[in-house]
Every structure is written in structure tokens, then in C-alpha cells.
Amino acid sequence: MEYVRAEKTTNLTFSNMITSRLGGETITLCYQCGTCASSCPVAKLTPRFNPRELIKLSLLGEKDEVISGDAIWLCCSCYNCQERCPQKVEIADVIYALRNIALEEGYIPNIYSEFASALLNDGRIVKVSKFVENKRSALGLPSLQPTGVDAIRKILSATGFNKLQQKKEETS
């Protein structure tokens, strides 16, 4: 078993960093009851994701482990945990805050960054393929119109999303 020295595990600045972010404010209320974990459909499928453990690690200041790992990206945002948390920890929102921190520090899985570029370029996260077009016409649905990509870019630049994405592209 690996022993971790105490001072390493109490990096309060990380939990402060989380609580000062939109969505992350409630993380310190957690008392590790595990309601979130037993509510989580993802946790039941894979040991790689457990919201209770993710919060515990974050509160103990294990920043590198949290933001560089893939756990934060595995949340499916069903909000079950958040609905049932007895301490009103906004768990799904906390995970969004963690994702934001991770992205700022250059950690994002490729699939997400591909989505992001697609969104910036075409206004959609998934390209409209020939297959989709055919399927739609077979079902009698109208063909998909181009999105208002300029408007979407405007919104994304107002939120700073494009800068984050640029940063990511530069670093990779």
C-alpha cells in the first residue's frame, strides 16, 4: 500500500478554487454518505467513476489526480445524484466546474475537444453525415438547414469558450 504524506493531501487551495467557481460552491457540504454513488448509473457500470470519491479527492486537494484523470468526463449529467444529495451538494454542477478547471489547465479528452471545434466551425457538435440525411428523407423529415454559426460563435466568444479551445489547440 502506498502511503501519502499528510501535507500533500490537504491542499485547501484546490477546494477554494472549486468553491469560487459557478457550480462548485457547494462542494464543501459533502459528508460522504454515498447517496450520489448509489444513485449513479455510470458508477454502477464502471469503477472508473464514483462521484463520492471524486468529491473526496477534490476536498483533499488531489488536484492533479482529479483534473488529469478521465473520471470527471464520465459523468452523464443525469442529475440523479444532485436530486438526492441530502446536503444539497450540486454534484453534477461541481463536476462541470472541475471540467472547466481541467480544460483551463490543458486537460480535455480528444473526443470533447473535437466536439468543441466542430461546434465552433459548424455550429453542431456532430457533423451531418450523408447517412443522417438519407435516414431523414426516408422518414419524410426535411433536410437539416445550416445553423446560425455566426451567432453561436458570438455566444461562445462571449463566454470565453473559444479562447479555451484555442489554448487547447495550441498546447496539443
Partner: protein, 806 residues
């Protein structure tokens, strides 16, 4: 009024003070002040020879005002005041100040400055003493009778205590039978004995011993001669004042004459109406005429009026051999006159059905701890068998869930404190009766903080009861087997479990009893944020309320186990007895007084008074004026600070008395620093100044302390007056805003300071010259720091420029 003759007595505490203060200069200064006829110096004045000097001067008629400079005035004042009263002078004409902790010690490094400050302090005390009026002691009659609301173990024990002490006691219980939650709980931890057992009252002459304890129903409780038990009754109105309350009770009909009923049970055998028995967790049925369990008090049946067919049936009337059944009984209104009221309304289980994912009320095999207690109780609906309510088969696999609706910010954020122990008790009782039962307790934290409580946890583990650290997310029903599945993560193993169960027992939060809010309104009491009755001071006066004469005990203030409830009940009884014992309430008249000529029609003071002491009464001219009850007034002066017309004064803190003191304190500087007036409340503020002196902290001598009863008395114009009489800065020092001894005073002061700052700005005065500080007694360092900070701030600001050059 007689000519004012002030005697001034200066204690130098041996050499302690004269090393810093020039006492010869002080004596010379004081003797020339007008009104001073006698100046004495001694090493101490609060006892022995020194005190005799004061007493002699009073007795000889030489002086009629006493000013004493003595160390530890809060202690020495008691002795001096008593001696002066015995010598024949009104004790309220004594003014004691502290030249040690407030002057010599904090300013020991600047003796000449300290001496000048001492002069100002003495002048202020003398000027104040000259303006003091005698204060009378008032006596109010108090009835030697009490009302106890709630007939659970808290109320019953308080009632026995008070009745045994000889008071007339009325015990009101809203249910048809006594016992409350305790009677349903079956057994108690940590003694594992019956919940309904109490210590025998003194009236139980035949079997009373020091150690005797019995069930309520056979304890002789009902035979206590001065105990009047009113079941099926509730308090609907309370009027009056401490010592004399007029209480209206609404007594619902029982339809059975308690004095005639012999409990022969014939009525229940003929009654045709059968309904689920709520008291017994609906695990059995009962008739429309019923008793909860055989061993109840009063030992008489009751008719459930919501289901009885009355005269359309009347079979019970026909069969009753003693003619005890009276179907024409009506709701009665009873008026009681009592001196004191004790609230013992207790708590109840939270309605777990609001937590949808646990399906309480939906799945019959999901029950609560109280319902399980009924199964465990031998008198209960199953005769002690633990069953699945759905098919009444034995429950062999039980899962218990802790913190249901408690420690939950969506419902009740607090820990109910007793549920872990209740579940451990239930689990071990079941395990010892049926060792093959599989029991798992799902918990967030196990809290066993009381005496012998940890042994329960230990014993439970020894017995093989399983513990899972995790709060289940959901209970589901297997449609095929009809069994329950509890979905939980074992957080320690990081493993997801689906626990299969015959029976799931929830440990719901304990919440205030139904009707708590209404009763609080009737009594004029406050509830805390969780809805429980708020005690006056959790640390020192756990069973008292801010209202003299009204006491609290048991679960009404927070969920409690039986030992704590007993402690609480006995404490409330002794507090009420202390209050009622003399048959009168003695109180001094250092209270607020309204000048009815100025007062008119506004409702500020009655609303602001924390004690409900002010009422509006109509005048002959057709408008309303405020009137203060001398009995209810606690003398804080918050009304004075609130009155927009200066129509209220507080005796002994009248504006002229305060102004004279202010002027005197600012009359002598003696330092090169700007004068600061520190207006301190008599509670935490003033004692923080004491403790800074006691701890030998330093701050400059330009800071002068004036005592007021509570900072809530201060009016905005008084801050302006302080600047006018020479203060360069004003500090207001009060209790912490949530720790004000008069509830709201320091919050009010804070607001007035903010308002005054705005005004100062308008007048061209820097608002930073006025500041409010909140501290407690032990924060002497904070006072010294604040005084130093204010001085430095004022030095930076430079001299105060007042408009008009005055």
C-alpha cells in the same frame, strides 16, 4: 427633594493604585466639586473598616449619595449596596466605579495622564450620582400554581416535582391518554427498561421509598391531591402576566366518565365499528371505543368521535354496567389561573413519506422506528413478534436506514441526536429475541455520544449486526418476490450493494410536535430555525425562556433521550418552583417610563420591546399611548432608543443623567491625544473593558468609558451630543449581535450607528469618528486594540471641526 450631599470614597487598594494615581491630587480635586460633602481615602471600602466609614456617614445623615471608587466593582458593589440599604439609604443612590481596571492598570505607563482620567471618571460618577433618583422595589403577587403543557415523560416528571413541592399543578395533554412518545417507544436506552416508568410521587405513601419507580398507571400519579390532569385538552389562549396567567383550555369530550369507568371491556366487545389502530402502527384494528394499551392513564375508555355512530348505535351505553358512557358530552372551555407555565410538548417523528425514493406509506414493509417499537413492545399489536406488515410473516432480514429526513438540507438539516441509539437498541432487542434475524444498519455516521451509549454499538457488533457505511439512494420492490431491495454503496469497500429485505426500518428525523407553532404564538415565545422552542440561554438557562414565568423542558427544545429529558424536567420544575415559592415577584423599578404628553399613536415601542412589556392603551382624548409594565420590563432601554418622539425614558439612564456623565468624562483631557468616548453596554461591553484592565493590557488614557444598560438604548442624537461636548471620536461597544443579553439591543445600536454615520457625513464630520464594536467579556484584548486603533485613526483625521464653531 432634599439637598444632594455626595460622599466620595476612594480606595487605593493598598499601594497598588497609588503607584500610578496621585491620590492627593484626586482628593483635592474631588472635594471642590459642588455637592461633595465628604471625601475619604482608604485601602478598601467594600468591607471592614472602610465599609463602616460609608455606613456611619449614611447613618449620621451626613451624606445621601454614595460614590465609591473600588476595584472589582461588580463584586464589591453588592456588599456596599446592601450595607447602604441597611443603613437606611435607598440602595440605588450608590455609584461604584473602577479606578483600577478602567484606569490605573491600562494606563500605568502614563501616571499623570491616568490621574487626569481618574478625575474625569470621578466627576462623571459624582455628576451622575447627583441626578439619581431613588428606585423603589415593587412586589407583584404570584399564584402558587402551575400549568404543565404536555403529558409525556417530561411533563409528567415536572408535574410530580411541582406537586410534591406543594404547588397546585394542572397537567394538560392533548391526546386522550398520558405518556406521549415515551409510552409508544416501549423500552428506553441506556437502561433498557420500560419507557413509561417514573419515580413514585410522594403521595404514594404505602410504597414510596427512595428507590421506588413504577409504571405511570400504577404509580399513584393520578392520586396526587394537588395535581389536576386534563387529557384530551389543549391550550387555546393565554392572557396575563408572569405570576398571574389566565389560561383557557379546550377539553374535548371523552364520552366516557373517567370516574365511573371500571375498564370491564364490555363496551369494546359490543362496539360494531372497527378501524385501523394508528397508535399501534395500524398493525391491528381497534373499536370506536378504545384504549391504546391496557396500562394507560387515565384508566378509562375513550370514544373516537370521528367514527362512532353515537345514538344510532349506542350499544356500549346499553351494555355498560356502571353507566359510564355519556354520549352527550360536549367540548368544554376551562379557565385556569396559574402563576407559571411549563411547556413540555415534545417532539414527533418526521413524516418520511415526503422522501419519495424510500416509498414509506407506499410499500407496507417500509416502516419507521416508532412503528417497530410497537412490534417490540409486548403490549403491542404483534405481542412482540417482528413481522412483515404485508403478510404478517416473520421478518427475517431487516435493513435499517439512518438519517431519514435528518442531516438533510432538503428537510431537516440538524442531527436528531437519538436515532442512532434507537436503532441500535431496536437491533439488539430483536437480535436477542430472534438470534437468526439478519440485521443491517445503513448509516452515515454512528453517533453514540452519551454515557454507556458506545456499549450499545459494541454489543450490536458482537451480536453480529452488520453495518454499512452509506446512505441508500432508493428502496425498490421486487415485483416477483414482493421483497424489498435497498440500493446502497458501501463507501468503505467502494462496493454497490443491493440488500434484500423483508422489512426496512427508517430512522426518521425528530421534529417539533404538531401544534408547536400555534402554541408558541399563544405564549409569545420564539422558535428556533428548526422550529423548536428557543431557550433563553442554552448554556446557563436551558429550561428558561426570555419570558419570566414560562419554562421549557424535554423534547420541546430539541430531541432528547430519556435521561436528558429527566434532567430537563427536574430543572424546569426547580426553576418554576423558585419563581413561585414566595407567592410574589420582587422587582426593582429601574424600568422605562412613558411621558404620555409626548407619546402618540405610533407602534414602534410595543413592536420593538423584546419582552412584550409595552402595550398601547387608549386615552380620553381618543388616541393611544404606550404603557410599560413594570413587571415585564427588563430595563434594557431598547424602547428609548426606538421612540421617535423622545417620549420614553429609562429610570437611572435618563437623558440628563447620561449627558451629565458624558460632559464630565470629556471635561478633563490631560493627554495630548484626542478624546474618545466609549459607550459600553453594561453586559459584555463594559466587562470587556474590565478584562482588558485585569489582564494588564494597555491603551491610551484619552479613551473614556461610559456605561449604559444596553447599547440598544442609544439614540442617534446622543452620538451628536457626544461630539458637541468634546469627544473627537465615539466608540459604541456592545455584545455580539447574536449574543445580546437583551436579544436585539446591539443589532439596533448597529443600525443607529450606521444612520448616525450618514448624518455625520451630511454635517461635514468624518463618519469614521463613530464606530461600533461587538465583543464578549473575555475579549479584553479586542477592546484595547479597538481603543488604540480609534485613537490612531483620530490622530490622523486631526481635530474635529464642528459647524457653528461650538
Amino acid at each position: 427633594m432634599d439637598e444632594v450631599k455626595v460622599g466620595v470614597f476612594l480606595s487605593d487598594c493598598g499601594k497598588q493604585l497609588s503607584e500610578t494615581l496621585d491620590f492627593n491630587a484626586l482628593v483635592n480635586y474631588v472635594k471642590d466639586i459642588s455637592g461633595v460633602v465628604l471625601v475619604e481615602r482608604n485601602s478598601e471600602f467594600w468591607r471592614g473598616e472602610g465599609l463602616r466609614t460609608i455606613v456611619d456617614a449614611v447613618k449620621n445623615g451626613k451624606i445621601n449619595r454614595v460614590v465609591v471608587a473600588e476595584s472589582l466593582p461588580k463584586l464589591s458593589e453588592v456588599n456596599i449596596v446592601q450595607a447602604v440599604e441597611e443603613a437606611g439609604l435607598n440602595p440605588y443612590l450608590v455609584e461604584v466605579i473602577d479606578l483600577k481596571d478602567h484606569c490605573a492598570w491600562p494606563h500605568r505607563e502614563t501616571p499623570s495622564e491616568a490621574t487626569e482620567k481618574a478625575k474625569a471618571m470621578l466627576l462623571a460618577a459624582i455628576e451622575r450620582a447627583k441626578l439619581l433618583e431613588p428606585i423603589e422595589k415593587l412586589e407583584f403577587p404570584a399564584l402558587k400554581s402551575a400549568l404543565v403543557i404536555g403529558g409525556g415523560i417530561a411533563g409528567m416528571q415536572t408535574a410530580v416535582d411541582l406537586a410534591d413541592l406543594g404547588f397546585e399543578v394542572n397537567l394538560v395533554e392533548k391526546a386522550p391518554f398520558l405518556g406521549g412518545l415515551a409510552a409508544r417507544a416501549g423500552r428506553f436506552f441506556p437502561t433498557d427498561d420500560c419507557a413509561i416508568c417514573i419515580q413514585s410521587p410522594a403521595s404514594d405513601v404505602k410504597t414510596i421509598t427512595h428507590t421506588s419507580r413504577k409504571c405511570v398507571y400504577r404509580s399513584g400519579f393520578s392520586e396526587i391531591p394537588n395535581l389536576n390532569i386534563l387529557t384530551n385538552s389543549k391550550v387555546v389562549a393565554v392572557e396575563g402576566v408572569p405570576g398571574n396567567y389566565k389560561v383557557t383550555i379546550e377539553k374535548k369530550p371523552r364520552y366516557v366518565n373517567e370516574l365511573k369507568c371500571v375498564r370491564c371491556d364490555l363496551c369494546t366487545t359490543v362496539c360494531p365499528v372497527e378501524v385501523p389502530d394508528e397508535y399501534n402502527a395500524k398493525l391491528k384494528t381497534r373499536k370506536a371505543i378504545y384504549m391504546n394499551i391496557p396500562n394507560v392513564h387515565p384508566p378509562a375508555y375513550v370514544i373516537d368521535e370521528s367514527v362512532c355512530k353515537f345514538h344510532d348505535c349506542a350499544k356500549c351505553v346499553e351494555v355498560c354496567p356502571t353507566n359510564a358512557i355519556e354520549l352527550d358530552q360536549k367540548t368544554e372551555r376551562i379557565t385556569l389561573n396559574v402563576g407559571s407555565i411549563i411547556v413540555a410538548t415534545g417532539f414527533q417523528e418526521y413524516d418520511s413519506s415526503v422522501i419519495k425514493e424510500y416509498h414509506y406509506g407506499d410499500y407496507p414493509n417500509v416502516i419507521t422506528n416508532l412503528e417497530l417499537a410497537r412490534m417490540i413492545d409486548g403490549f403491542g399489536p404483534t405481542g412482540g413478534a417482528i413481522i412483515r406488515p404485508s403478510d404478517r410473516k416473520p421478518a427475517k432480514k431487516i435493513v435499517m436506514i439512518q438519517c431519514v429526513g435528518s442531516r438533510d438540507r432538503r428537510y431537516n438539516p440538524y442531527c436528531s441526536s437519538i436515532c442512532c441509539m434507537i436503532s441500535l437498541k431496536h437491533a439488539s432487542l430483536i437480535k436477542s429475541a430472534y438470534p437468526d434475524t439478519d440485521i443491517t444498519i445503513c448509516y452515515i455516521d454512528i453517533r453514540t455520544t452519551g454515557r454507556e451509549h458506545e456499549y450499545y454499538y459494541e454489543r450490536a457488533r458482537e451480536m453480529g449486526i452488520k453495518f454499512v457505511k452509506g446512505r441508500p439512494t432508493e428502496i425498490s420492490l421486487d415485483p416477483e418476490t414482493g421483497r424489498l431491495i435497498v440500493d446502497v454503496e458501501d463507501a468503505l469497500l467502494k462496493r454497490f450493494l443491493e440488500l434484500d429485505a423483508d422489512l426496512v426500518v427508517l430512522a426518521p428525523a425528530m421534529v417539533p410536535a404538531e401544534g408547536t407553532k400555534e402554541l408558541a404564538e399563544i405564549l409569545g415565545l420564539e422558535l428556533d430555525e428548526d422550529g423548536f422552542f428557543k431557550e433563553y440561554n442554552a448554556k446557563l438557562r436551558p429550561t428558561e425562556t426570555k419570558l419570566r414565568g414560562i419554562y421549557l423542558c424535554g423534547g420541546a427544545t430539541f430531541p432528547k433521550d430519556a435521561p436528558t429529558t429527566s434532567l430537563h424536567a427536574h430543572s424546569a420544575a426547580i426553576k418554576a418552583a423558585k419563581f413561585l415559592s414566595t407567592g410574589k415577584i420582587v422587582k426593582d423599578q429601574r424600568t422605562a417610563i412613558v411621558n404620555e404628553e409626548y407619546c402618540g399613536d405610533c407602534e414602534f415601542c410595543p413592536v420593538t420591546c423584546p419582552y412584550g412589556a409595552i402595550s398601547l392603551v387608549p386615552t380620553t382624548e381618543g388616541h393611544f399611548v404606550a404603557r410599560v409594565s413594570d413587571l415585564l420590563c427588563e430595563g434594557c432601554g431598547v424602547c428609548v432608543g426606538t421612540c421617535p418622539l423622545n417620549a420614553i425614558e429609562l429610570r437611572h439612564s435618563r437623558p440628563n443623567q447620561m449627558l451629565a456623565q458624558m460632559k464630565a468624562l470629556m471635561s478633563v483631557n490631560g493627554t495630548s491625544k484626542p478624546l474618545v468616548l466609549a459607550i459600553c453596554c453594561s453586559e459584555c461591553g463594559h466587562t470587556a473593558v474590565d478584562s482588558s484592565g485585569m489582564a494588564m493590557m494597555r491603551y491610551p488614557a484619552n479613551v473614556r468609558v461610559m456605561k449604559v444598560p444596553c447599547t440598544g438604548i442609544l439614540q442617534v442624537h446622543q452620538f451628536l451630543e457626544a461630539f458637541k461636548v468634546g469627544a473627537q471620536g465615539v466608540m459604541v461597544v456592545g455584545c455580539k449581535s447574536d449574543g445580546c443579553h437583551y436579544e436585539v439591543g446591539s443589532q439596533k445600536a448597529q443600525k443607529k450607528v450606521e444612520l448616525a454615520k450618514m448624518l455625520l457625513k451630511e454635517y461635514g464630520i468624518e463618519p469614521e469618528r463613530l464606530e461600533m464594536f461587538n465583543m464578549v467579556f473575555i475579549e479584553g484584548d479586542k477592546f484595547a486594540e479597538a481603543a488604540q486603533m480609534m485613537t490612531e485613526r483620530l490622530e490622523k483625521l486631526g481635530p474635529l471641526q464642528l459647524m457653528g464653531g461650538s
